[in-house]
């Protein structure tokens, strides 16, 4: 998937600029530097948010992540990669939001007017089934699944982002995959074999 490549490019771009003192300038409240950092990285955060909380709240929560990021930048130790730290902020923000809004149903991309404009034939029904199935599993499992399957993170990075022991990433992923399969089959997925 292209996302991995994009993420790789972001990683390189960010690390180059980090060396050039971009983070330090952001920390000083330099609005231009903040905008630069935001523009380099926001698509990663937005993509994660769309999957975790739904389209409806993705933009607002993405902004929330950057408000936190700019105010907490001094806490970034440089021990982990900046990108990992950013994913961590984003995942925390999403999970916190979902806990607060437990009764609220995540709105999938199916509700997106843009998608509805497309002719039925062009819409990928299979993909939509996965979107529905993802809504039905626990948000933390969903985030782990997303980080692995879409963001292509290693177990070590996932552990760091979600804040769980590295040894438990695999078993949680297995649970996420099983549960998704069960829901997909219920929804009429025929992709299994």
């Amino acid at each position: 998937m292209a996302s991995n490549q994009a993420s790789e490019q972001v990683r390189e771009a960010v690390s180059t600029e980090v060396e050039a003192g971009l983070l330090a300038r952001c920390l000083q409240g330099d609005r231009q530097a903040q905008q630069r950092l935001y523009e380099m990285t926001m698509h990663l955060v937005y993509r994660l948010m769309v999957r975790l909380v739904g389209l409806q709240d993705a933009a607002d929560l993405t902004q929330q992540v950057y408000l936190k990021l700019f105010s907490k930048l001094d806490q970034f130790s440089g021990k982990s990669r900046f990108e990992t730290w950013l994913y961590r902020l984003a995942t925390n923000e999403a999970l916190q939001f979902l806990r607060k809004n437990k009764n609220r149903k995540t709105k999938t991309l199916m509700g997106d007017p843009v998608n509805q404009d497309q002719p039925e034939s062009e819409r990928d029904e299979q993909r939509e089934l996965l979107e529905v199935a993802m809504e039905r599993i626990d948000p933390e499992l969903r985030s782990i699944f997303m980080l692995r399957e879409v963001e292509k993170k290693s177990y070590r990075e996932i552990a760091e982002i979600v804040g769980i022991p590295e040894g438990t990433v695999g078993s949680r992923l297995t649970r996420a995959r099983r549960e998704l399969q069960t829901h997909l089959v219920e929804l009429g997925w025929e992709g299994l074999q």
């Binding site: 998937m1 409240g29 609005r31 903040q34 905008q35 935001y38 523009e39 926001m42 698509h43 937005y46 993509r47 769309v50 999957r51 389209l55 409806q56 709240d57 993705a58 933009a59 607002d60 993405t62 902004q63 929330q64 950057y66 408000l67 700019f70 105010s71 991309l109 997106d112 843009v114 998608n115 990928d124 299979q126 993909r127 089934l129 996965l130 979107e131 699944f145 692995r148 399957e149 879409v150 290693s154 177990y155 990433v169 695999g170 078993s171 992923l173 297995t174 995959r177 998704l180 399969q181 997909l184 992709g191 299994l192 074999q193």
Partner: protein, 283 residues
């Protein structure tokens, strides 16, 4: 290893996160056991499906809103409460209360970021009669009767936008194209105390309207005493003003300036700035 132990390690195996010796055990089992091999194949199908997930492009204007929020934050006082309120805002506005909420948010966003529209102190700029204020107040309730206030106080010529150039001495943006999703309802060359400008009322599909002013001066003191927010919208420096139920925005357009009232949200500001900039490219 038995099947349930293998099943426990299946994700680690699939994602190539196992140590070599364990991996070999799992692999040997998978060759001999159809049930576990099937589970693994299901993981693969699921990955294929996940690879098809797509993400829509982020809505325009996110930085613009974020910048306003950052500006508000940097003022310090009460930021926690304000942030909380702001965080409840959906970015895309579908609800009918959205205009009221937008206005409230813009109001919250004000403080140190306060900008004066113009430092000029010419007598001519002062709308001592408060006509424009009356107009803005009336506009919130009824744009048609608000229009009558302007027409009553100022000299005007009703024009077709395409014919305004001979009165204005320049080709206004609206004559080059109408922003997408709007329809021109009326257009006037209006002689106001500050300057002569072109005022165009544009209707949305739902019948509500925005009013576009194109004027020479940096910005007339139309919004005197109202809090203003500096923001970058669609790459242009914009000044946003919180009105009662909607917002006004003003930005530079070539040698002139465009001010629009009746805007619902920052997204709409972005699309209007994009409209005016597209035209300036052409001319």
């Amino acid at each position: 290893m038995n099947c349930s132990q293998i099943q426990e390690l299946l994700s680690d195996y699939y994602d190539r996160e196992l140590k070599e010796d364990v991996r070999q055990h799992v692999e040997a089992h998978l060759k001999a056991c159809d049930r576990c091999a099937e589970s693994l194949a299901a993981f693969e199908s699921l990955s294929l499906l996940a690879g098809k997930l797509s993400t829509p492009s982020p809505p325009a204007g996110m930085w613009c809103e974020l910048e306003a929020r950052l500006q508000k934050e940097s003022q310090g006082t009460g930021s926690v409460v304000l942030l909380e309120e702001k965080s409840r805002l959906p970015f895309r506005w579908y609800g009918r209360y959205s205009r009221v909420i937008t206005a409230a948010v813009l109001l919250l966003a004000v403080g140190i970021g306060y900008l004066n529209f113009t430092g000029k102190e010419h007598g001519a700029h002062h709308h001592a009669d408060g006509v424009f204020n009356q107009y803005l107040t009336a506009f919130e309730k009824n744009p048609d009767s608000a229009q009558q206030i302007l027409l009553k106080h100022y000299q005007y010529d009703p024009v077709q936008p395409q014919q305004a150039a001979r009165l204005l001495g320049y080709q206004p943006a609206i004559a080059q194209s109408v922003p997408a999703g709007y329809e021109v309802q009326s257009s006037y060359v209006m002689k106001m105390p500050c300057c002569t400008c072109l005022q165009t009322v544009c209707k949305r599909k739902d019948g509500s309207c925005i009013v576009i002013f194109e004027h020479d001066d940096e910005t007339p003191e139309w919004f005197e005493g109202q809090p203003k927010i500096k923001a970058t919208c669609n790459g242009e420096k914009c000044c946003l003003i919180n009105l009662d139920q909607d917002i006004a925005a003003s930005w530079q357009h070539g040698k002139r300036h465009i001010t629009v009232i009746g805007i619902r949200d920052v997204n709409e500001v972005n699309s209007l700035v994009a409209w005016s900039e597209r035209d300036s490219d052409k001319s």
